[in-house]
């Protein structure tokens, strides 16, 4: 059997996962620094529109990518201004921002709808693109795949192996202790919020310049930002696990498209909404597994109990329980 079909499937999963990975990484950085950015969905959509418009105006898709990142950082800047300077509830502002950015994207992008425009095309790595399986899936692919995988490594290295990443994690874990240590907590929070927003902006650009090229009302990436938010919880705020989560959700989407050919009786709408019940189910399983009652019960089991962690892994201190406390 030839490797063409598995390679195409792997490539499709990696391709669909690329923007999800970036958006989820952006939220990971933001939440690791103690800022919950609920505006993800609107940010992704607005950045997709800005990136497509900029790419059309300049003719250069990479200029569009930069513009998308700037748009994402700008939305995060509004959130940071409300949160840090005005002391408003980040959750409430983030939620309103997500609705606002979505409508703003549709309104401002009206002239861009259903227009032809540049996209990021295919990027071939010389020498590697002829490898079996991974060649077509990774190295003769849209550049977003390699960029997203590089971003996972870069974010992991930044958070876990650099001094600045340590400062960021300290601020997110215990703002009071970090302030006592002489760290400018507010500034670090604003910076990580901006960085997270820029990554989410890149995710939007990935959608409109590669994964779902073009702009329209609807664009086709609606809801992706919310899935990214859920993936961060699913991945336990760890970059590599978050990337696996994104691949898992992309695999569901791709499986839906692949199954549509096999089972034509099932409606296409069923597969479009499939990620959302899965999102709820994964959150249910992950949150129950992290609950104290479950850990207590599991530890009493023979053998399996040894495998249970003694403490609840997961949310950075400043973020833990923020959603349960309400707004």
């Amino acid at each position: 059997m030839s490797l063409d079909y598995p390679a195409a499937l792997l490539g499709a999963v990696l391709f669909a996962a690329a923007p999800l990975i970036l958006a989820a990484l952006g939220e990971t950085i933001s939440e690791r620094g103690g800022v919950i950015n609920l505006s993800m969905d609107g940010t992704v959509l607005l950045a997709a529109m800005v990136a497509f418009a900029a790419a059309r105006a300049s003719g250069d898709p990479y200029a569009g990518l930069a513009a998308g990142a700037a748009a994402g950082a700008a939305v995060a800047g509004v959130l940071a201004f409300f949160g840090a300077a005005l002391g408003a509830s980040e959750l409430a502002v983030g939620f309103v921002l997500t609705l606002f950015c979505r409508e703003l994207a549709y309104f401002v992008g009206h002239g861009q709808a259903r227009q032809p425009g540049p996209d990021l095309g295919v990027f071939s790595v010389p020498g590697l693109s002829d490898l079996p399986l991974v060649g077509p899936a990774l190295f003769r692919q849209s550049p977003v795949v390699l960029l997203s995988l590089l971003a996972v490594a870069a974010v992991w290295f930044f958070l876990m192996r650099t001094r600045a990443g340590l400062v960021l994690r300290a601020v997110g874990e215990s703002p009071g202790a970090a302030a006592a240590r002489g760290i400018a907590v507010a500034r670090v929070r604003v910076l990580c919020c901006l960085a997270g927003g820029a990554l989410a902006g890149c995710a939007g650009a990935f959608y409109s310049l590669a994964v779902k090229p073009g702009w329209g009302h609807p664009q086709g990436c609606e809801g992706a930002g919310w899935i990214a938010l859920a993936i961060v919880i699913f991945g336990g705020w760890k970059p590599a696990r978050v990337a696996f989560g994104a691949l898992f959700f992309a695999a569901i989407q791709v499986a839906g498209i692949a199954l549509q050919d096999v089972l034509p009786g099932l409606s296409g709408t069923l597969f479009q909404i499939a990620p959302f019940p899965v999102m709820i189910a994964t959150l249910l399983v992950v949150n129950l597994r992290r609950s104290a009652a479950f850990r207590e019960a599991a530890r009493r089991l023979p053998l399996l109990g040894r495998l249970m962690p003694r403490t609840a892994g997961g949310a950075p201190g400043a973020v833990a329980g923020a959603l349960d406390r309400g707004f």
Binding site: Y106, F107, S291, F327
Partner: protein, 348 residues
């Protein structure tokens, strides 16, 4: 913080002026004539008898959902799933009508009333899924509500294109229209029902009574302010949350039922028409206070209806209504921090 304490009216005027400025800047940046655009919106929402009727028919679902959301906000629940609850209300209401219609088992009036009750049950059931996920599954209602919105949309699309499709052809324009006898009585021959408005006002009155005049409303407030203390007092916060979700879902489902029997007379794709999200913004604009809610809903209804004229007259996207609504709420958030309200209640 910066200025002193401001009277609420002064602050409201500042919010409106600031929001107007930001809106004009956005419209100008989009390359449209700012003042003409606002004039078209105002005329489209208030300019004629037809426009006023359209605004009133948009006010009914907004006020229904706004009253519903005040109940969940009273226990600090963010019921984002209100869109899906509207959709499921519409689906349940129509399924009852479809079941009794050919059989003629019920007189038409009873069938319509029954479909509204079924709609309330559908909305409440959909809301309780999100509620149980929150209270017993530790899944925040924002995620479950949002996910369930997409699921409800999928279910309604599947029904329209599959089991409930029109004889001969499935079409995105919706299911087969209801028989005239099964419509809510129309007003002045327009596709708008006075009953929708009456039900919305009744729901608003119910919310005012429930939250302000009953022991149940008081316990909701206790749970919001300190869930731990409420637990110690034996108020059972989880049950209160579920009850609030159920009531909210029932009212949102009623909204779906009214949309089916009073406005569209069939099930259409995305029947909730963004009313749920708009209602959330209206409640936030009213700061969760019931006396200001009808005003906020009316204002947003004018914007929503007025924006429908934009694609026709200026070839702009009708989402400008949502942009203005978002700007208003954000400027209100900013104003509340910059100029804290005077009075015994203190700042925000």
């Amino acid at each position: 913080m910066i200025a002193g304490r401001a009277a609420p009216l002064v602050r409201a005027a500042l919010v409106l002026a600031l929001a107007l400025g930001v809106t004009l800047a956005i419209v100008f940046a989009a390359g449209a004539p700012p003042f003409d655009t606002l004039a078209v919106m105002a005329k489209g929402g208030l300019g004629s008898r037809t426009a006023l009727l359209r605004t009133l028919s948009a006010l009914a679902p907004l006020l229904l959902c706004g009253s519903a959301l005040c109940v969940t906000f009273a226990v600090n629940l963010w019921n984002i799933g209100v869109e899906g609850q509207i959709t499921m209300g519409a689906v349940f209401g129509l399924s009852l009508l479809r079941a009794v219609d050919p059989a003629g088992a019920l007189p038409p009036d009873a069938a319509v009333a029954g479909s509204l009750v079924a709609a309330m049950a559908g909305g409440a059931a959909w809301a309780l899924i999100a509620g149980v996920l929150r209270t017993h599954g530790r899944v925040h209602e924002i995620f479950s509500g949002l996910g369930l919105n997409f699921v409800a949309m999928g279910i309604s699309l599947w029904l329209i294109l599959g089991p409930w499709k029109r004889p001969g052809m499935a079409s995105m324009s919706g299911t087969e229209p209801l028989a005239n006898a099964l419509w809510l009585p129309a007003l002045f021959g327009r596709p708008m029902s006075l009953w929708g408005l009456i039900l919305a006002l009744a729901a608003y009155g119910f919310a005012v009574w429930l939250l302000g005049r009953t022991f149940f409303g008081l316990t909701l407030s206790a749970v919001r302010q300190n869930a731990m203390a409420a637990e110690r007092l034996g108020l059972r916060p989880k049950r209160r949350m579920l009850a609030a979700m159920g009531i909210c879902g029932a009212l949102a489902g009623l909204c779906g039922g009214v949309l089916v029997t009073g406005l569209y007379h069939r099930l259409i794709p995305s029947i909730s028409g963004n009313y749920g999200y708009t209602a959330i913004l209206a409640v936030l604009l009213a700061s969760g206070s019931l006396p200001f809610l009808p005003l906020a809903c009316l204002f947003f209804a004018v914007l929503t209806v007025g924006s429908i004229q934009l694609p026709l007259e200026l070839s702009l996207d009708s989402s400008l209504a949502g942009v203005i609504q978002g700007v208003l709420v954000l400027t209100l958030f900013a104003a509340r921090r910059l100029w804290p309200a005077a009075g015994p209640k203190g700042g925000a």
